[in-house]
Symmetry: C2
Amino acid sequence: MTIWSFFTRASRAFHDYPHASKLLVLCTVSGGLVAYSESQSDIVSPPSVDINQSEPRKKRVVVLGTGWAGTSFLKDLDASMYDVQVVSPLNYFAFTPLLPSVTCGTVEARSIVEPVRNIIKKRKGEIQFWEAECIKLDAKNKQVICRSNINNNLVGNGEFHLEYDYLVMAVGAQVNTFNTPGVLENCYFLKEVEDAQKIRRGVIDCFEKAILPGLTEEERRTNLHFVIVGGGPTGVEFAAELHDYFQEDLVNLYPSVKDLVKITLIQSGDHILNMFDERISSFAEQKFTRDGIDVQTGCRVVSVSDKEISMKMKSKGEVFSIPHGLVVWSTGVGTRPVVKDFMEQIGQGKRRILATDEWLRVKGCEDVYAIGDCATIDQRKIMEDIASIFEAADVDKSGTLTIKEFKDVMDDIIIRYPQVELYLKNQHLGDVTDLFKDSEGNYRPEVDIEQFKLALSHVDSQTKNLPATAQVAAQQGTYLSRCFNRRNECKNNPEGPRRFRGRGHHQFLPFQYKHFGQFAPLGGEQAAAELPGDWVSMGHSTQWLWYSVYASKQVSWRTRVLVVSDWTRRFIFGRDSSGI
Amino acid sequence: MTIWSFFTRASRAFHDYPHASKLLVLCTVSGGLVAYSESQSDIVSPPSVDINQSEPRKKRVVVLGTGWAGTSFLKDLDASMYDVQVVSPLNYFAFTPLLPSVTCGTVEARSIVEPVRNIIKKRKGEIQFWEAECIKLDAKNKQVICRSNINNNLVGNGEFHLEYDYLVMAVGAQVNTFNTPGVLENCYFLKEVEDAQKIRRGVIDCFEKAILPGLTEEERRTNLHFVIVGGGPTGVEFAAELHDYFQEDLVNLYPSVKDLVKITLIQSGDHILNMFDERISSFAEQKFTRDGIDVQTGCRVVSVSDKEISMKMKSKGEVFSIPHGLVVWSTGVGTRPVVKDFMEQIGQGKRRILATDEWLRVKGCEDVYAIGDCATIDQRKIMEDIASIFEAADVDKSGTLTIKEFKDVMDDIIIRYPQVELYLKNQHLGDVTDLFKDSEGNYRPEVDIEQFKLALSHVDSQTKNLPATAQVAAQQGTYLSRCFNRRNECKNNPEGPRRFRGRGHHQFLPFQYKHFGQFAPLGGEQAAAELPGDWVSMGHSTQWLWYSVYASKQVSWRTRVLVVSDWTRRFIFGRDSSGI
């Protein structure tokens, strides 16, 4: 009865002192001890609904979206400085890197989500949250129009608008089908938690259907043919998960069809994981070949029907079709309609993706910020400003720059144009002054504007778009919240680099992305990782590194405990194959 | 790193010796130790799909359904004696008594389900499972027609038929709306796991919608009005769970609408929980009143629209309507269409529910058995057989029975007509011979047929239908599997009572239900229980009893661990309010 009496006492303590610090001692399977003390002393009771407040004293910040970018922004924002209102069609944050694990039940869907209200109630200051979808951004009138996406018969008009002083767009992206016919109708996706749940049920459906009496062997084979389109980290991880799920669990439950299962991975490029180091890429390809996963590289999907998927072999130009049971489409992201419409309003209509400057401010629209997958940073080219830079650096107005004059502005240049640093590194130049060397490697005492242009002419080729990853989105959210928190402070004491085309300094440092590496789990308790400093790590130990990193990155202690216990459960009992 | 190295070793051991016994030591939160050794040595690899086998040697048993009845039957059946084929639209068994806990996330849906294939692969002998719905029972040709209910584009005809030697119907019942208009369209139910998941999402939807800007207070109130129809154990438990969910978790996340929430429980009878002892009934009513749950007894729902629920106050005959946000309908069960159709075929068309005899054999149909909620036992009345009994007992054919003659057949009578025992108990008669007393309390030496009839004339009033509970279904499944296992044995040595209307003995003892008591959790860590021997227990300690009984009754160690860890999680972190 120890366990029950513990519960009774714990329960009583919990109810008697709801706001006291809770000390939870969780005994993990290894016998290890995790002591966790969560102080709730900073909980501020959220506000009453008072949307018609006249003349708010605080500036209103409207945040759209609660994915990686939006949540990171909210987690670090000092909400006591602003009237913060959050709108998102989902009332939770999802730890999306674990979505492939959810597809096969290695981790449960609920273990990777945390209610937004839980996250915001622990923040300093008042934050209001509305579960609704932003259906229109009205840049001219500085307002957003939102509509509740709850599709039942509840009363009340679910449409409302919110005016903003600052708008933070973190609405994410949508699946990109590249207009391939039949994809939306016949494919599964892997962007949302619900997608992963659908795949999980879909996989079991394929097995249950394939095993029924009366099917031909060909029909069974078709139903058990799983096709994954896209050889990026998500597609590869899903293929690996599916293979493990089958090999470790389903093979025992559906032994009669075990020889009929096939997994095909289709990649348009020449290699899977081609954003990774090529050692990782070929390690993954070799492992998949050993596992019997059919990797079709250099193939472009031209259409998907309910029964077949047609593709074109790039090398031969030949189009062929294969029957499928289930297709998962995982090939990059596209712009949401509401963002497209907004881009038209602000003169970005011709662009493919919303552009911000280096401070994450949407170009052509004041007081609107965009972070995460919904936008990209349009890095200013150094050549556009080259004359202004030269003029600003040429203090004595001699028409030439000395090394000293150049050095004096170089720090500001490197901050304002990060491509310069990348260029130096890729050209193996130790110092910025190396740019002053002539073609024979001798330092020039001075350079004129033409020589200066020539020295920097190739720098802009190093400008790179950031990938649409959780890591980038999270860093942007955190960066932006820091700017919002220091808005008053930095007004008087700007921290940014000097303005070459104007006077004074930029208020804030521009956003700078720091890459902490990337994982690609490959199944069978093996993973590959690209770590900072061009380190590459592959194999079982990398998988353990993956476990520890992903456990530590969870948004709350609750999800951390749940994810670790899901992994433990999977080790002990395997994955659940119930069709729910 | 201890935890990781444990994992590595455990994982390796698991993969190297997949069939070895696994010893799992699970360290629970209390520090208590549960040692669990699961022997897998009896796993027999399931058969290949071979449906067209000609002339099977073993008799084929087709089992329809994998609920409490079907699963209990399968768990104890010696499948090596038969060719066993199971058909169910769900590929899992669900521990339905925990469904109310799933509606509010106290327990996760996946924690209460166990895949049927997991259950059957551990059985002795071969069992085949098909995920399909039986759409037609063809009693004449001894076959069932089934159709896959997987609604996607997988290839192959999902329809097939199975011939049977013995059919075990365990298809359960469906929701009974009593033909009340609008119920099917506008109410939530609590029969399946998916129902519980829908309610969970629905409750959160109500809160998210109610809190949106621009709604009137009246609209918020309407959306937060939760109505439960049916004051049985399920409805009462759901009301209690919902109240706890709100008080313990949601009130912190939606503080601005906390005064607008209302829970109404509608019961047509005069009291809720009226199948329980009246002390429990009034304890529950008092607790609910204290909790602010509005209990409307003596009310019959006449219709449900998307916005309102209309009911009739029985006492006054007055019809009135109240607006609602969410209605859960939980009022007993009805017969499924496939069973109705079958009843027509076998001449039971006029009955409301399928009738079996005391051996669970469907009346009017050979070799078909029905267990669980889909059927009821039509207990043979003693008065129908009274002449035969008298004749059989009157060994010396004297036309009168002596006490000795009566005593000789009494054991068989009590087994064949269990209402006799109930009658003796209710009449406070110590012994069957008390029936021989005359009106003045004196023993009569002999009775004639008329006196015999008179003595037993009130016995049949004690005949009772068994309730549609998991407990009854499980006992019937186990009972029937025992009969199947002992079929050959009992053919030669029948174990049943003597036949009064024929010769010899019945092959098996008739089914006899043993009531182990019943729980009604009432929220706030309190429960009520009716235990054997007319014991009644209420309060916090009963809730702990409930926890231990429900944990011990789980179908597998996997679900047991999951359910207990869900309870623990709820104690520590509360319930999740993510809308997934």
